[in-house]
């Protein structure tokens, strides 16, 4: 067959979210690729210029609905940097605990979708079933299952419910048992390894140059995790290791995410143990001073950055959001060229795309 351009998407059962991938195919091998985003552009940055600072928090939840706590936390960090608000320690610990639970839930959803794409329906159902444990915990904390609207500028919205620490520890034990089972199911399956090893190589220099962050970067051997190297919130007091893996293929990215789940369980245990008593929120001023604020977190998908410019009123003058997936997807052609059409699923699935944040 001659070379032809195939459109995978925008309506496609495999692609998570609404985006288009045009690949140039020669028989079964991919010779060129071009991702197209922008189908889900909602104009969030413009929207935020008309809302007060507190009204923007639910909007930031919907940036990436797969891991929404990280984004609202990032926004609150940014605005607290602008306004100069000191957050009480209990609020910081609660935020970290909630974020790590969100990280596990997000990675489990990634695992479920990844297994479903590769043909293993079992993995999908098991991943979603275990995610329910953490979603239930977060529902007890904030009241909703997917977009939480939980952090506030100056702390968190409400305190922890009763027995939350006991439930969190139980969830961690359950999760560690299940992680062992997942390693048997996935790492022990020859077919899974056949579909993942050696696929989608992204060398270290390319990853650094193209701005890839998060698990794809750590899967290429760069041991850089924002929580450890440029810590924010209370991550300095928590003992954990950023995980990386030297093989630059899909298996490495999968492995990095599984290891991150182990680390998140450790972090949750430590926050439960170290949780101080005290206030969980301070009142932030309504009007922001003139100036700029900057915030940066380690999203489950990479490095998420926000930059806010205040002008003395209670609405931001400019809010700029950097989403990790936006840049990682632009690096996708590097990972796709030379492989087969059937590998597109594995490679793009390994990047954990959530188009809500790419298009804003």
């Amino acid at each position: 067959m001659a070379e032809m351009w195939i459109n995978m998407g925008p309506q496609h059962p495999m692609t998570h979210g609404l985006w288009n991938l045009r690949i140039k195919v020669d028989g079964e091998t991919i010779t060129d690729a071009e991702p197209e985003v922008g189908y889900l552009h909602r104009g969030i940055e413009k929207l935020c210029e008309d809302r007060t600072y507190t009204q923007i928090i639910p909007i930031t939840d919907r940036l990436c609905y797969g891991s929404s706590l990280t984004w609202s936390h990032l926004y609150c960090l940014t605005v607290e940097d602008l306004m100069g608000v000191e957050v009480p320690e209990r609020a910081e610990y609660i935020r970290v605990m909630a974020i790590e639970m969100q990280r596990i839930a997000s990675h489990l959803m990634w695992l479920a979708a990844y297994a479903a794409d590769l043909g293993m329906m079992v993995g999908f159902i098991y991943g979603m079933r275990d995610r329910e444990v953490f979603i239930d915990l977060l529902q007890a904390l904030s009241g909703s299952r997917l977009t939480y609207n939980y952090p506030r500028i100056g702390g968190v919205a409400h305190d922890l419910p009763h027995n939350f620490d006991r439930d969190a520890l139980r969830a961690c034990e359950y999760m560690e048992k299940k992680l062992k089972e997942y390693e048997d199911i996935y790492d022990g399956s020859k077919v899974f390894m056949m579909r993942n090893e050696g696929i989608g190589l992204l060398k270290k220099e390319d990853a650094l140059n193209l701005g890839v962050t998060g698990p794809p970067l750590r899967g290429s051997g760069v041991k850089y995790d924002l929580r450890k190297d440029m810590p924010y919130s209370v991550y300095e007091d928590i003992d954990f290791q950023p995980r990386s893996h030297p093989a630059c293929d899909c298996y490495a990215r999968y492995r990095v995410r599984m290891d991150e789940m182990w680390e998140s369980c450790r972090i949750i245990r430590q926050t439960v143990k170290k949780m101080p008593k005290g206030k969980w929120r301070v009142v932030a001023p309504r009007n922001a001073p003139e100036g700029t604020g900057f915030g940066r977190v380690e999203d489950p998908r990479g490095e998420a950055v926000m930059y806010v410019v205040g002008n003395g009123t209670d609405r931001p003058y400019r809010l700029k959001i950097r989403s990790p997936i936006f840049v990682t997807v632009s690096a996708a052609p590097k990972m796709l060229i030379g492989y087969k059409v059937a590998d597109v699923v594995a490679i793009m699935g390994g990047l954990d795309m959530c188009i809500g944040e790419a298009d804003r």
Partner: protein, 375 residues
């Protein structure tokens, strides 16, 4: 009493019943008209007519048994996958019998859908492909007897089709042709790719499969199912030809296109693969035939390797055959829901590079055993 005699008896009784009516009419009406009815009655009672009607009735019986088994298989598949996935399978339709009627409900739903032919599709190919596919798969069933007495081609001498195994595998192998035609005539880039992948996969797994069948036939000494099963009265062929048994199972799974070998119809890549453009009952026929081929594969495995219908005399032979076929199906389903999909070039690599040498090795083992006089 074998199936032929049973059906003959039924037809004979039926013809006698109807003949009373013809002869009475012949007597009643005037001679230039009544002769006609008498002649019809005489014709109906002739041997040729009775044999033809018997064979038709046999065909209907086997078809009904086969289709009921297929319904069972679909139900087991969905219930089993539900249990593996930690939820219930079909639950509400047919509540008290575990959701068995769900299949009928789905069939009725498919019947009521509008059948659309794409405008630029090749009409002849589009129409003919399902017919060939379904027809050839059902013909496989025709060749496999459930026991000495229950098979479509048992005539009054009691023998089955002389080259039953050969016929069954020949019919099994027509499917790639139909799939190619279906994929190509839908006028769709994706179905074309899916059809070609599917045909490539099926054809490359035919070869190890037929090599293993050749080794079984070598040990059995004959080409018909009766002889193959009788040759296993000491020991089932699965035990000396264990390698062949495993490879044969893998080949059946690849032929029937269940996971882990179902890339041609993988939802994640190409929507439904080569059946994308078929709607309504045509699609239903494809799905049903897929399970029918699974059933046929299980039946072939049983007949060739697991001793066919031999077993303790507690229950009739036919039930032993069905039980063994169900066990094979159960193992295939277990494998299906536990493994991810293999990429299509890896599937072809597996078929050519790994399975064919093993099949040849198996043939050598069989030849060695035959030379040593063990069989």
């Amino acid at each position: 009493m074998n199936l032929y005699e049973f059906c003959y008896g039924i037809i004979h009784w039926l013809v006698d019943l109807v003949n009373n009516l013809w002869y009475w009419l012949g007597d009643l009406l005037p001679w230039w008209f009544g002769d006609f009815f008498t002649a019809v009655g005489d014709f109906a009672r002739s041997d040729g007519h009775l044999s033809v009607m018997t064979i038709l009735l046999e065909g209907v019986v086997i078809l009904v048994v086969g289709l009921v088994n297929v319904l069972n298989f679909i139900w087991i598949d969905r219930k089993l996958s539900g249990r593996i996935f930690d939820f219930y399978g079909p639950y509400y339709v047919g509540y008290r019998i575990g959701g068995w009627l769900q299949n009928l409900a789905d069939g009725i739903k498919l019947f009521t859908k509008e059948i659309i032919t794409p405008a630029k599709a090749d009409r002849v190919g589009f129409l003919v492909a399902p017919i060939v596919f379904v027809g050839s798969s059902v013909l496989v069933l025709a060749a496999i007897p459930f026991s000495h007495n229950f098979g479509i081609a048992t005539n009054d001498s009691g023998a089955g089709i002389p080259a039953g195994v050969l016929f069954a595998f020949a019919m099994f192998a027509i499917a790639p042709f139909a799939i190619l035609v279906a994929g190509w005539s839908s006028n769709n880039k994706y179905t074309l790719i899916g059809g070609m992948r599917s045909a490539a996969q099926m054809m490359s797994y035919e070869i190890p499969m037929l090599l293993i069948v050749a080794s079984v036939l070598l040990l059995a000494g004959g080409f018909s199912f009766g002889e193959v099963v009788d040759a296993q009265h000491d020991i089932w062929f699965a035990i000396p030809l264990f390698l062949g048994f495993i490879v044969f199972l893998v080949c059946i799974v690849a032929e029937v296109e269940v996971q882990p070998f179902d890339l041609p119809e993988a939802e994640a890549e190409l929507v439904e693969g080569w059946t994308t453009e078929y709607c309504g009952m045509r699609f239903g026929l494809f799905m049903m035939t897929s399970y029918l081929r699974g059933y046929a594969g299980g039946a072939l495995t049983t007949a060739l390797f697991l001793g066919g219908w031999q077993g303790p005399r507690l229950i009739p032979d036919e039930f032993w055959f069905l039980i063994k076929a169900y066990i094979v199906f159960f193992v295939v389903e277990w494998m299906r829901w536990s493994l991810p999909r293999i990429r299509v070039d890896q599937i072809l690599g597996l078929g050519w590079k790994r399975l064919m040498p093993l099949a040849i090795l198996n043939l050598l083992i069989a030849a060695a055993m035959k030379t040593m006089g063990w069989f």
